[in-house]
Symmetry: C2
Subunit: 208 residues, 2 copies
């Protein structure tokens, strides 16, 4: 966590540091990011920076925590409202809220994507660590329940399917970013139809 000094400085300055850090980490991976660049963009001195944060990792973890906190606000709302409505509805809402988060917090989302991609790095182990399979395990439980309910084929490879759904969520974000980048389209319900397409594919397949 940042030192107390960081929370004592003027809010304007604090926001500036947060903003520039988010910007840096949304462009560069942890390893390739640069404290020098951040302090230069913030127009604060190196010495000041190290009075606010223990080190680079301290700053990174703080920024990640901001991102996680914000994303949780989106996803939790979806989870709570759909918890009793079965697999498809829950997954759909998780995906949609994930997309919405990514659209409304492009840089924070990008930081997450970069971290997830670098899943062999030391910082990944440190930051994600034992929570690595949290999402996958969650999907696994949902699937198992739905198999019992007779909604999902009992002979599918649950482990692999959970992994795949998790990957799809990540891929979906990337696809979404790519479309958004090229087309300059505004985010709309139309974009969320992608989620419906995806879930339809997952449940019913593409074969006719």
């Amino acid at each position: 966590m940042p030192k107390n000094t960081f929370f004592n400085i003027k809010e304007e300055k604090r926001k500036m540091i947060e903003e520039e850090s988010i910007n840096e980490f949304s462009i560069y991976s942890y390893e390739n990011s640069s404290i020098n660049r951040i302090v230069e963009n913030c127009k604060i001195s190196k010495g000041s920076f190290y009075q606010y944060f223990e080190n680079k990792e301290d700053l990174y973890r703080y920024i990640i925590s901001l991102s996680v906190e914000k994303k949780m606000k989106y996803v939790n709302a979806a989870l709570i409202s759909e918890i009793d409505n079965g697999f498809i509805k829950i997954i759909k809402e998780i995906f949609k809220s994930g997309l919405k988060f990514a659209y409304e917090n492009e840089k924070l989302a990008s930081i997450g994507v970069l971290l997830m991609k670098n899943n062999n790095s030391e910082i990944y182990r440190k930051v994600i660590g034992q929570n690595k399979n949290m999402a996958i395990d969650f999907y696994k439980k949902l699937i198992e329940i739905e198999i019992e309910n007779g909604e999902i084929k009992p002979d599918i490879n649950v482990e692999f399917t959970s992994y795949l759904i998790n990957s799809m969520m990540i891929n979906l974000s990337e696809y979404f970013f790519e479309i958004n980048k090229n087309n300059e389209k505004k985010f709309s319900e139309e974009m969320l139809f992608l989620v419906d397409d995806l879930m339809d594919m997952l449940i019913n397949g593409i074969g006719s």
Copy 2:
């Protein structure tokens, strides 16, 4: 391309340099890899290295070309033998040959994975560049043909589905690596069943 000198040196030495470079790039991304480390591991001098290669990029492109060439040998064989057997069979064989390549050339495959992950880096643009969507476009054509043949639903999102299949191939490799790492299982036909599972999911869905 490497300079002529590189192809003049003793084969033993050349193989050594190739091997150590493959090792380095399979662990570190292009940006994080180190020529210093490579020459140290090869026990050649820095000066020698720069008599073989123009620069770091030159070496990297060469190693990538080795990897692509080898992978093509696997995939092309599959393509040629299955070209007339329809979408499912072709995709299955591409996936299977991809897995086989990854298993038998773990480090080369890892280099490819690292490059694909860094799809925002300068080196990605340089090396992959305009071939970025080659695989996706290929899947797109296959799907369109199969829609005409009545084998695939005509109302699916072709663009998105192609993208997804491409992602699946990448995810599959990663999943495969992860399983392989943890279980110390030998590669077997059993592993290839994953591809069958995946394709069954794609065609028929997981719903019952």
